[in-house]
Amino acid sequence: MGHEAVICKSKNQQHGEEAQIVDQEEEDQLFVAPCFSSIESSESWLNDSCYTNHMTHDKDQFRELRSSNTSKVRIGNGKYITVEGKGTVAISTYSGTKFIFDVLYVPEIDQNLFSVGQLIKKGYKVVFEDKSCLIKDADGHDIFKVKMKGKNFALNPLEEEQTAFPIKENITDVWHKRLGHYHHKGLLQMKSKMMANDFPALDDHIPNCKACQSGKQSRKPFPKVTWRATKKLQLIHIDIAGPQRTPSLNGSLYYAVFIDDFSRMCWIFFLKHKSEVAQVFWNFKARVENESGCKIQILRSDNGKEYTSNSFNSFCEEAGIQHQLTAPYTPQQNGVSERQNRFILEMTRCMLHEKNLPKKFWAEAANTTVFLQNRLLTRVVKDQTPFEAWYGYKPSLNFLKIFGCLCFTFVPQIKRDELDKRALPGIFIGYSLVAKAYKVLQPQTRKIVISRDVHFMEDEEWNWEDAKKMNSTSKEPKINFFCSDTEEQNIDDWQNVMTNDTPIRGTRLLYDVYQRCNIAVCEPADFKEAKMDQNWIVVMKEELFMIERNKTWELVDRPQNRKVIGVKWVYRTKLNADGSINKHKARLVVKGYAQIFGVDCSDTFAPVARLDTIRLLLAIAAQENWKVYQLDSSQRS
């Protein structure tokens, strides 16, 4: 009993012993004890010094049984009984499972026999004293104490009183700790594959280890989605990814992904700032609700600030959308979006690297990814693509081309003359969602063109190096040729033609917009506008009255040889600090720019006070405790 410590120490040695035992087996003698058929339970083991080997008849007790070396043992009456095998017996004791090694399997005996001889051979000590038998290990530690019953020593491992000392820690446990709490299944696997020498015998299971709990406690597995939307737009997943390190062609750094739970249809939008997501979402909502005829019912997002803001929430309430948030720091609850994100990024990376495109094309690639994914299988929707689940018909794939490949776009006749090239090279960067056409970037003109007349060379890619050289050498003549027509369109097109990647440029409250409108209305541009409003007519009359009272001019006949300078009205609205209107002002001004030096004017300069003077004035005033007053010409202000 309790062999483990010894066995661990001397496994190699054991192999040698085993061989010896096998040799001896032919001559093994069995002295049958007097109480051969005693009433002791067959679970217990009789200690006897006569046997050369441990023996048992109970095949079920073997943890490991090698039946190969079948032999015979001689018993007291001279007969031989068959030994059908040899192996390791596991017995459950009060303090855990113990192993007894090298036990013979003898079906014909009806008692388990525990050989003192074999114990001593393995280094154990067996002491018979005080009507009990004490088994000690090699180091002298007590392992078992067996009380004498009748005139024999029956060891019943399940009886507590027989255990002198609760056996030391479970061997499995010890090794678990020695190996730094490495997980048990791994150890078992190592053992079975003999990946290390001197491997201990291990239990299949390990008692709960407290250290493991505190050191290795992990999140409870998240339940698989139990509920799925049954209708389009019943549940929308939303997530934002980014910022990307490289801005897209359009300067976007983030993208927002909206996924319909039912169909797994996915939409992607590109943003410059996270805050744009609210605006994008409302546009999206209007579009998909119109498209599907269903209403968005539930929106699921993480706890990002952009969704938890008051304005976003109040919008949701108004629209009657239930907004579900995930628990903080558990992106797992937003699994659909997060999985989609990973998918998009993986596919985007692949597509960019395939054709060696610069990173700034990520938005185009991601857009195409989503386009493709809507036409590809998802595990969740059975036997349908998201596209079919959403639109109700199967998508066609015949127009798909390799993203980023070289292509040639036909130049419409209007835009070229007879001798111009009929096609321009470009890079294929996606499918247009608005028209049935391809989006092609023409790096030379820095334009994005939407065209259906495209010839693809899917094996080729854009050669960025060559293009650079070409540009630098042919720069001069190009400018001359194109300056009139294309130049001004370039920058605009770059942004306008990009239908999907155009973010909303900032948002403003309606209140602000109206306030601005107000100001714009307040100041008419010319007399025609001003005469519509009584306010302006009043102030214009005031101005004219002042002019007449000051005798600023007198009416004369038009001189023959003199130029007459025009006048015009200028309207100003003076606002109070709070933005309300203080007063309207109309002023008649001369178009001074029409004056000619030497004819209508000579010297025009006038001195003004230097700021030093004003500061000095203030300094003196402060020193002398005077007060400084201010007057201004009323006509001016």
Binding site: T552, R558, A609
Partner: protein
């Protein structure tokens, strides 16, 4: 703003207010109007003339600074186009001057100087405080930084300076003048 013009300048009649029966006529300007190139100069020469008539002495080196001394009383005027700053040791003297000016030039009394050329001015006993708070705020508004965090020192105070920061040594000869 109605200085007398030296030059002969003709302008059209104002849109919407053309005198009936005299549609063909035009206006010969006697006094300056807004937008005229010489308007500020004409204005200056007129007010300069007026102040000198009142007995003000024009500063030799600053032609917009006028001082009038009447026994122990002193009155100082500073001119900034159509803005006029007045100070002096006798309040009634100042008030009298202001009244005169308002009658002659249709000027408005803005009271104590509080806001001038973008500066905010606070006057108290023996102290004048000037600042540009409003101006600074307008700049913040213009660059959309109104909500920005305030910092007492606009640099990292905990920055550790060290001899070697990985950049190339600066050529000292460059700095020695």
């Amino acid at each position: 703003m109605n200085g007398f013009l030296q030059e002969e300048i003709y302008v059209e009649q104002p849109e919407g207010y053309i005198k009936e029966g005299e549609e063909d006529k035009i206006c010969l300007l006697k006094k300056a109007l807004y937008g005229l190139k010489q308007a500020p100069r004409v204005w200056y020469s007129r007010i300069d003339e007026h102040l000198q008539n009142l007995g003000f002495a024009k500063s030799f080196s600053e032609s917009t600074l006028y001082v009038k001394q009447n026994g122990a009383n002193i009155l100082i005027i500073s001119l900034y186009v159509d803005d006029l700053l007045v100070t002096g040791n006798n309040t009634s003297f100042v008030e009298k001057f202001k009244q005169e000016m308002m009658e002659v030039f249709e000027m408005t009394d803005l009271g104590l100087m509080t806001f001038f050329l973008g500066m905010e001015i606070m006057q108290d006993e023996h102290e004048v405080f000037i600042c540009q708070k409003k101006y600074a705020k307008e700049i913040l508004k213009k660059f959309k930084l109104e909500e920005c965090k305030e910092m007492s020192t606009p640099m990292n105070q905990k920055e550790k300076l060290c001899k070697e920061d990985g950049t190339d040594k600066i050529d000292q000869a460059h700095l020695e003048v």
